[in-house]
Amino acid sequence: MNREKVIFAFFIVLALTLNFGFFIGEIDNPDHHDVLELFLALVVSLICTVLKFGDRSHLGALMLATSLVADLQLIISAGIWAYGEHIAASGMEAEVMASVVSFAGGALVANITSVILLMVETALIRR
């Protein structure tokens, strides 16, 4: 068992599960989406990105790309949340919440791709 592989897979799957946890629920209902989960999803996603640094294989490059996409989506999502909560005069409205969640949904797809790539890599290299 490779400790490095365990940590790597742990963070990638955790990024997906946290992202999913935030995404699930009615899209425009703020009560269904915990902002703490968004925060954790973003942090874990950033850590995943750094973990993927320096892998020179083709698959490694793909994984880094998906991770960067997830980061981008989550940062935009968090930005919209901050705008809705603190800057917009009307406060957190249903439309704003919907766009926060839909950006997180995009990140979810990227994270799923990441996990699929991880599985492909595991299946290809049987060690």
Binding site: F39, V43, I47, L51, F53, G54, R56, W81, A82, H86
Partner: protein, 565 residues
């Protein structure tokens, strides 16, 4: 070649993750710790403000407590996060700086810059492996003639010295083992602009590896290799190395030539070295015995060359093994008067100080000259740093094999026809050489003798080619006329004419020029540059041939043609 980025990212993985975790924990902490707003109600900081606060706290330690004054618990957490975030930043920045100073990383960065520079070369260049005395001379001369060079050497100090040499064009240089094909590839071995590979390192094995790699990858490319023993030379020749130079043998031949055929030696010297000795300096040979101090590679080669000419020799060497079985040999270094006297210095005509130690060599010469002031002295200079002492030693010949082979290589690179002429020279007798030296002396006097070759074809002599196409006869003497005044002759003369592989030395001035001829000229430098007028400018050539100004345009030429008809 994205290695640098990958190495940087891989080394920075841990510090980056540390930074992310520290920030995440700090932000999370601020959202969980209850605070109080200005009205005294319990208030929880949200992620937006927590991130804002941690961001400026981490980098600047604060603009104050926002949006409300902190409680004790919040302040305590702030203390923890200040220290942890500062440490995380220091760790991250420190690691980055370490990576940039890491020797492996610096090597990688140098290699990358080097590869980029070599790829950026869009004109012909030579790949020079080994930047010693020979490499240094060759590169300097190439650069002076506007030809680019790329240098690979195993010693970083030599690469550094290259930067201090003050060359007028940038020379991409890399400290690496040139025997590795990868390194040669980075250095442009497969680059279409690379016109030649020069293997000039001190190690025969490395030179062999370079020559083989070059001949395998690029069979048509010119390869010149240095070689110190006959086995390597034969090996190099077996796969078609274009030129093999043996510094020890070359110098021994050079010295022997000076001893037994001084005029041929002078012709050779004048053609090869820009600053030549005057005609009066021709070494007057005296029949007699020579003493050779140091019977190593140099001594052996010189002894062999002198013996071939029937000269008697006496060898002095400190190693009993190397002189075993020799009839006239003395054990010792040769720096003491007693050893030299044993070798019979009083009755000898010349002494060669050829040991590997410069101080010993000078000492031998000084002692020998005191015992016999009429001696011809030949001294070997091993280190170029001793230049000053040797230049003032008043020796007849200073052996610097590195310079001799550099001159040979440069002659081959600049004027390929020159090596053909020198081969021809070696087959001639002293009388022929004496006549030639007198002619050279009459032409240039004490000025530098330059040489250049031209080929009669469309690209290098368009005017002559055009005249020949018109059916006009061009004599060799026409090329020697001053383009500004056809009554005057330039201070130069043809050394050799090569036509369809046949070589004619010192062709007559009335010889008719034919397309495809290659002609080697020598003479004053400024006169040789005037050639270009005659070879390139149709009107100038017309003026020289006929004494009339050529009609300028095609229409005028057409009209004058009709008038004549």
């Amino acid at each position: 070649m994205n290695d640098i980025l990958y190495v940087l990212l891989r080394r920075l993985r841990v510090p980056l993750i540390t930074l992310i975790v520290v920030y995440a924990v700090a932000v999370l902490g601020f959202t969980l710790i209850p605070g109080r707003d200005d009205a005294g109600n319990v208030w929880h900081m949200d992620f937006f403000h927590a991130f804002y606060f941690v961001s400026f706290m981490g980098s600047t330690i604060g603009f104050g407590e926002i949006p409300y004054e902190f409680t004790g618990a919040q302040r305590m957490w702030t203390l923890v996060t200040i220290y942890s975030s500062v440490v995380a930043w220091l760790y991250g920045i420190g690691t980055t700086l370490t990576v940039f100073q890491d020797s492996g990383f610096i090597r990688l960065r140098r290699l990358r810059t080097f590869v980029r520079e070599v790829r950026g070369l869009h004109e012909r260049f030579y790949l020079v492996c080994g930047y010693g005395v020979t490499g240094n001379h060759v590169v300097r001369e190439l650069i002076d003639h506007g030809v680019r060079a790329v240098v690979v050497d195993i010693d970083q100090e030599r690469i550094d010295s290259l930067e201090l040499d003050g060359l007028v064009m940038p020379v991409p240089a890399l400290c690496a083992d040139a025997s590795l094909p990868d390194i040669l590839d980075y250095a442009g071995l497969q680059n279409p602009h690379c016109v030649g590979v020069l293997a000039l390192t001190n190690s025969d094995n490395v030179n062999l590896a370079i020559a083989i790699a070059s001949k395998v990858l690029m069979p048509k490319r010119l390869v010149i290799s240095r070689s110190e023993n006959d086995i390597t030379s034969a090996n190099l020749a077996s796969f078609g190395t274009d030129m093999i130079v043996d510094p020890f043998r070359s110098y021994a031949e050079y010295v022997a030539l000076a001893a037994h055929s001084p005029h041929r030696h002078l012709v050779y010297d004048w053609l090869m070295n820009p600053e030549h000795r005057s005609l009066a300096s021709v070494y007057r040979r005296e029949k007699g015995r020579w003493i050779i101090c140091g019977y190593g590679r140099f001594g052996r080669n010189i002894a062999r060359n002198l013996q071939q000419e029937g000269t008697e020799i006496t060898v002095i060497d400190p190693n009993p093994d190397s002189i075993r079985g020799m009839s006239s040999a003395v054990l010792g270094i040769g720096t003491e008067a007693i050893t030299l006297q044993q070798a019979g210095v009083e009755s000898a005509v010349g002494v060669v100080a050829g040991t590997a130690n410069d101080a010993d060599n000078l000492s031998i010469i000084m002692t020998a000259r005191e015992l016999n002031p009429k001696l011809t002295t030949v001294v070997r200079q091993n280190l170029s740093a001793n230049e000053l002492v040797f230049a003032n030693s008043r020796c007849d010949f200073i052996m610097q094999p590195g310079k001799i082979i550099a001159a040979q290589i440069l002659a081959r690179l600049k004027i390929p026809l020159m090596s053909v002429f020198l081969d021809h020279l070696m087959q001639q007798d002293e009388v022929w050489a004496h006549t030639l030296v007198n002619r050279m002396n009459a032409t240039v006097g004490d000025e530098a003798l330059e040489s250049r070759s031209i080929r009669i074809d469309e690209s290098s002599a368009p005017a002559i080619q055009c005249k020949l196409d018109e059916g006009v006869e061009v004599k060799l003497i026409s090329l020697l006329k001053n383009p500004h005044d056809r009554r005057e002759t330039l201070e130069c003369f043809p050394l050799m004419l090569r036509r369809n592989g046949d070589v004619k030395a010192l062709p007559g001035e009335l010889t008719l020029v034919e397309p495809g001829d290659e002609i080697l000229f020598c003479g004053r430098k400024r006169d040789l540059t005037k050639f270009e007028w005659t070879t390139h400018n149709y009107n100038t050539l017309h003026f020289i041939l006929t004494g009339e100004d050529a009609t300028q345009s095609a229409i005028q030429r057409w009209i004058s043609g009709r008038v004549q008809n």
